[in-house]
């Protein structure tokens, strides 16, 4: 009983969706009553082509903040844009992997293993993020 009701409502919704979609795009040769009010196009458009809004300083700041909250950093005073994860911050290779993963999460990208292994300092991380068009 419940299942049929659910199925029916889904079918209704699907049909409504199919019916509604072409109506929006149909040019105005139909009678005006069929033409749905046009939604301002600008609001729904996302300009994927526009340049990444991330600035170098912003990326550096976000990475440094992330490291500041990382409890394994031995000496927070050494936290500068040029610090090396192992030599300056006292992180081991496992911690480095964790930092890189945290950076991935922060900028919502996925860094392939090979490139992730090459990131050993804040600078390198910033350069990598700046080279990624889809980081945000």
């Amino acid at each position: 009983m419940f299942r049929t009701a659910v199925l029916q409502s889904i079918r209704c919704a699907a049909q409504a969706g199919v019916r509604a979609a072409p109506r929006v795009q149909r040019p105005a040769f139909k009678t005006a009553s069929f033409v749905q009010p046009r939604i301002p196009a600008i609001s729904a458009v996302r300009s994927y082509a526009s340049a990444s809004s991330l600035s170098n300083d912003e990326v550096t700041g976000r990475i440094l903040d992330l490291l500041k909250n990382f409890d394994k950093v031995s000496d927070a005073s050494k936290l500068v844009p040029t610090s090396h994860f192992t030599n300056d911050l006292g992180l081991d290779s496992l911690d480095t992997v964790e930092v890189v993963m945290a950076i991935e999460e922060e900028f919502s990208i996925e860094i392939p293993d090979k490139e992730a292994d090459a990131i050993h300092s804040v600078n390198q991380a910033v350069d990598y993020i700046m080279a990624q068009p889809d980081a945000h």
Partner: protein
């Protein structure tokens, strides 16, 4: 940082996979998984990097453990 050997890279890659698997666990027990995983890796930290047989065995063992624990049915782990 010195160039990593193939086995070292494999170990880091396994660690990365484990971390990714941890993220999929329920938020309240995620820390347990993390502690467990980290401890398993730390146990063999002092292993000689030329001890290829042992490392390969441990990598296989780790991969098998990951396979077991990453199943969605496993929701908590004793640490």
């Amino acid at each position: 940082m010195p160039r990593l050997s193939g086995l070292q890279r494999d170990a880091l890659s396994l660690y990365r996979k484990c971390l990714r698997a941890c993220r999929l666990k329920p938020a309240d027990t995620r820390a347990n998984f993390y502690i467990f995983m980290r401890r398993e890796f730390e146990k063999n930290r002092e292993l000689n990097k030329k001890d290829f047989g042992t490392i390969e065995f441990l990598l296989r063992k780790g991969a098998r453990q990951l396979e077991t624990y990453e199943s969605p049915g496993v929701t908590n782990i004793a640490v």
